[in-house]
């Protein structure tokens, strides 16, 4: 059986895969179903070679890294025990390849944006090639989470709003604390007299009649018991002042002596 080789090329990157068709599953003569090896040549760097698991590890790291980079939120991909890892490194990208041999230092490649784009395009071509029937496990691109995107907003801008809010709250609290609370016994006699002059059944009955004519007594019965009690209580509020103890007592007395709420017209 002839060994097949497919090549995917970009300006600074060349990816070659070799293998055989898996005849047992009925694959065509040009398809690669059994991967025997692959090599990646990056311009100006050492040529890399590996097996299927290394290719899958490369795909698992480079594709999500590119996905995050499009959203402007680059981060490290690849576990410490993974054969491949990718780190953002200033304006460049650091690709780390760890050997399975013990006591072998990892190989580090520094790629610029153009070289990374070339590598991503090569891997895209490989994944989309219908002649490769390897069932490579590649992660599907997904929208990022809000927490992942938060990092791209500078820290100062992120904390500015909560700090301003807390400062405004503190300032409002301090101002309200400085305003003196009015004492209960500090009313002047003029204030106390004012509302009492309003307790005039003849004058205060008019608004109640106009607002709820169905429930109140007829205009001719302005001195009806329930109405007098109600107007007597409402008078201080109409004047726009707080009911003073004296005025309230007087109006309550009026209500109590003439009629009570229980005697209101039904």
């Amino acid at each position: 059986m002839i060994k097949l080789s497919h090549r995917y090329e970009q300006i600074s990157c060349r990816l070659t895969v070799e293998g055989f068709p898996d005849v047992s599953t009925g694959q065509g003569s040009q398809a690669i179903g059994i991967l025997t090896g692959w090599s990646l040549a990056l311009a100006g760097h050492t040529e890399l070679e590996g097996k299927r698991e290394h290719l899958e590890a490369l795909l698992r790291v480079v594709a999500p890294y590119a996905r995050h980079l499009i959203s402007g939120a680059p981060r490290v991909f690849g576990d410490p025990d993974s054969p491949v890892a990718m780190h953002p490194d200033g304006p460049r990208h650091r690709l780390e390849l760890r050997s399975s041999q013990p006591h072998t230092p990892p190989l580090t490649l520094h790629l610029d944006d153009a070289e990374l784009a070339d590598l991503v395009r090569c891997l895209d071509q490989l994944v989309l090639d219908a002649r490769l029937q390897l069932n490579l496990q590649t992660p599907r691109p997904q929208p990022l989470r809000r927490s992942e995107l938060r990092k791209r907003v500078p820290l100062g801008r992120r904390i500015a709003a909560p700090i301003c809010g807390m400062a405004a709250l503190g300032l409002a609290g301090a101002v309200s604390w400085m305003v003196p609370t009015p004492k209960p016994g500090s009313f002047s006699p003029a204030q106390a007299k004012g509302p009492s002059s309003l307790v005039d059944p003849g004058k205060t009955a008019a608004p109640r009649k106009s607002t709820a004519p169905g429930k109140t007594a007829s205009p001719g019965k302005s001195g009806a018991p329930g109405q007098i009690g109600a107007t007597g209580l409402a008078a201080p509020n109409r004047a726009g002042e707080a009911p003073t103890p004296g005025a309230q007592t007087q109006s309550n007395q009026g209500a109590g002596t003439r009629t009570g709420p229980s005697q209101a017209p039904r």
Binding site: A66, D113, D124, Q142
Partner: protein, 180 residues
């Protein structure tokens, strides 16, 4: 927030920020290609979107859903329309890939690279001033001499990484990102 794991499996309309980025990237493609408007219509025909965009006015009307536009259109863009625009953009990015690569390459001489960036930013600025609402903060950031170059670099890098058929899903996922 939409469920992240199923966001691409069911048709999800692009959020406001995604529409802004999509139109800005199309604008970048126009800045790179002097005949970009015509190329976009031609690409739409090549990809079989004549029923969606029978003429350039229809294409322009869909792009006007970008809230940063001077003459913006209200309402949400249909998923078929955004998918078609994404495919047109990735096809154009593939065609313009050599230029994108030149801009991004660190191997190029610095003076040449700076001239290329200055030319690109100048064209993009003209297009922005012609079509976008200059009172919007997002637009002012693009024209800012300090923040603008960084944003332009991010747009070009996004275009390069989403070039070709392999970039369609990647770009779409990126446009569906929630608000940070």
């Amino acid at each position: 927030m939409p469920n992240v794991s199923t966001a691409l499996s069911r048709p999800t309309p692009l959020p406001r920020r995604g529409l802004e980025r999509l139109d800005l990237m199309l604008l970048c493609a126009e800045a790179l290609d002097l005949n970009g408007g015509e190329a976009m219509v031609w690409m739409s025909e090549q990809l079989g979107y004549q029923s969606l965009f029978p003429n350039r006015v229809e294409l322009w009307k869909r792009r006007c859903h970008n809230p940063l536009r001077r003459a913006t259109r209200r309402g949400q863009l249909q998923v078929e329309d955004t998918d078609a625009l994404i495919r047109i953009l990735t096809a154009m990015a593939e065609r313009l890939y050599p230029m994108l690569r030149q801009l991004l390459s660190a191997a190029e001489p610095e003076s040449v690279s700076e001239q290329r960036w200055a030319l690109f930013r100048g064209r993009l600025q003209e297009l922005i001033e012609e079509r976008l609402n200059l009172r919007r903060v997002g637009v002012r950031k693009l024209l800012d001499p300090l923040e603008g170059p960084q944003l332009c670099h991010q747009l070009i890098l996004s275009l390069a990484l989403s070039a070709g058929s392999g970039g369609v899903e990647r770009l779409k996922a990126s446009l569906l990102d929630p608000e940070p």
